[in-house]
Amino acid sequence: MSPAAGPAVELADTASRTARDHADVVDLDGGLAGEFATYGLGRRVPGVRVDREPDGRWTVRLRLVAKYGRPLPDIGDEVRARVGDALATEHLDAVVQVHVADIAPREGPTT
């Protein structure tokens, strides 16, 4: 909550935390080179991108690593709803786009 961090990074923090709280979200995915992130002062939030639209609304894009098992659209819906709610409590009107970038097997290699 450093005041200089700017709203985008704080928003990304909230979105990242909320998404990770979901039981079927293993991690967020920053892309091949880790380039998919929100950049702030001295730090970045991987796997989340936050953009401000011209009309003042925010667009939050998440790249998830989901757990193998449940239907991915359901997980996506739940994450989208939770992140939207979390941002709404901070009085931010945001469109949340969920992308499942990878999945993680339930436990170690099955071979």
Partner: protein, 155 residues
Amino acid sequence: MSDTSTTKTEKSSTSKSGGGASSGALAQLDTDQGVTSISEDVVSKIAGIAAREVEGVASLGGALSGALSAVVGRIRGDEHKTSGVGVEVGKRQAAVDLSMTIQYPASITDVTAAVRQNVIDRIEGMTSLEVVEVNIAVSDLAFPDGDDNNTGRVE
């Protein structure tokens, strides 16, 4: 479901991805509240895990590619990558190509039938894409007694 109809997967022409995403094609699943998109990599990983879940499947990939990818996989540190799995993903449909080695005494027909069923179930269950075909190439047999480097007749 898995009948090889002529409906090939309609490639998603709208490849406006989730923003700088690495993998090419992705499935878009529209729901009431928005869009969830899924990487092609995810679909092939599901196919790979689903195939390995079936008893009698020794490994995915060809005989050579299995040994090679074991080495490469060890270097890159990814066990569950998608060697031996090819997928084509459209907006609503997916097609899967698998190549695998099968454990020796198992019935190839039974194992491949079970693999096909499980791959279809898992992909349709987890992504709600319709799987139009699952092609399986059995590239080798694996023998229970350890490493199969004694395949020759003479020692």
